[in-house]
């Protein structure tokens, strides 16, 4: 048997989760939007910094990156994220059309006796360049987004920002993570704040996480979207726990518990509704810094201690 025959799905997933760093990576995700992912991520990061840890916080919600606002840190050290666009070289092109056949998004078109032209939305996959037998396609660049790295004492905030209207947001997430792995340096922990949903972007953000926390709320919507993200985490073979935000909302707590049981996932933290949390949120100061004694701060600090015991000891 060749090596190829023996590779199974588990090997593929393990390879997908490989990272070039040995720093513990914690994903903060949750399926539903507006459940408090960023609030939890930002406050967790702050709680670790207060304990003297060096933290890399990654804002991978590239469609709406807000962590810098919650932390009141300006975005700095911008780097462009570019994707390839094919540029056809007339005197090298043999009009063989392999590029047109291979293009999965049908973005290329060849008028009669003419070189191919790019008309549709090219996603930069470079398959056309790969199949071109005459080296007739050069790499043009298209700006799709930016990454930033803002340093504030022991906190490094990495932010990805997609240019609005551009489809290929995964490129920005992947570029952001590459940058994190390159620049996280001597960080003790990497915390990745994902976008809502259970799509490519969220997958790319969570890839390589040692542990992911699904933030949710006790509502029917929260339970529904929680189930979706737990399914994704199970497929990705990433250890999952639940953080129940607004835990005292009179509502669908039993629905959350039932999802947790179905997926054999524990609720490892509960954050009750807290006026002080809202006040800090409006000010753009993490609640664990502004009101360390608040019940929400205490809940998040307790969670950070659990994570530290599991991953930083």
């Amino acid at each position: 048997m060749t090596e190829r025959d023996t590779i199974g799905i588990n090997d593929v997933i393990a390879a997908m989760n490989e990272t070039p760093v040995s720093i513990p990576i914690i994903g903060i995700t949750g399926g539903k939007g507006g459940v408090g992912k960023s609030t939890v991520a930002v406050n967790l990061a702050e709680a670790f910094v207060q304990k003297g840890y060096k933290v890399s916080l990654v804002d991978a919600d590239v469609d709406a990156p807000d962590d810098h606002l919650l932390l009141n840190i300006p975005l700095k050290n911008s780097e462009d994220v570019v994707i390839t666009q094919p540029l056809f070289i007339d005197d090298k092109c043999t009009r063989c059309r392999r590029c047109i056949t291979v293009c999965r998004v049908n973005a290329l078109f060849q008028p009669k006796n003419h070189i191919p032209v790019l008309i549709g939305d090219c996603n930069g996959c470079e398959a056309c360049i790969l199949v071109c037998p005459s080296d007739a396609i050069a790499r043009n660049k298209k700006l799709v987004g930016k990454t930033f790295m803002s340093k504030n004492k022991n906190l490094k905030l990495f932010t990805g920002e997609l240019i609005p209207g551009i489809e290929e947001s995964s490129f920005v997430v992947n570029a952001l993570k590459e940058r994190v792995f390159k620049e996280a340096g001597e960080s003790d922990i990497i915390i990745i704040d994902t976008s809502p949903g259970a799509h490519c972007n969220v997958m790319n953000a969570l890839k390589g996480s040692d542990h992911a926390y699904a933030v949710t709320e006790p509502t029917p919507l929260g339970a529904h979207d929680l189930e979706r993200i737990l399914k994704l985490l199970s497929i990705m073979q990433i250890k999952a726990n639940i953080i129940l935000n607004r835990s005292d909302l009179p509502g669908a707590r039993e629905k959350i518990q039932s999802v947790a049981e179905n997926y054999n996932v524990e609720i490892s933290g509960e954050i009750a509704m807290d006026d002080l949390l809202v006040r800090s949120y409006v000010k753009g100061i993490p609640v664990v810094r502004m009101y360390p004694g608040a019940k929400s701060s205490q809940a998040i600090i307790k969670l950070s201690q659990k994570i530290a015991a599991m991953h930083l000891s």
Partner: protein
Amino acid sequence: MKLCITSAGKDIESKIDERFGRSPYFLFVDTDTMDFKAVPNTAETAGRGAGIRAVQLIVDNEADAVLTGVVGPNAFEALKAAKVNVYEGASELDTVKNAVEGFKKGDFKEVSCPAEGHGSGRGRGRGGFRGGR
């Protein structure tokens, strides 16, 4: 002239399909003799870019003009690049044969810019899925 019509079926009595990139067949009709050839649309089920792929097929079959319901902006740009004239406004209530007769009488106007309201650079995404990213 060789006119390409988007058709629901493969003979001249078939109904028009108003969709450009996703019609099941293209009928290439010689408007002088009414001879025709049906070509299945291989782009019909494309995830993305069906319009552009359809234009490739039409250009390869050497049509001088296209008659359909409405053409998306990407396909329109490709047709323009290939110097194929575009006629819109054909109705799915009509047969291909009737539409060609109407065309010869001048019932359809040549279109010089893509249909309004589709935004720029994108069709209306009638595909079943948006292709994995």
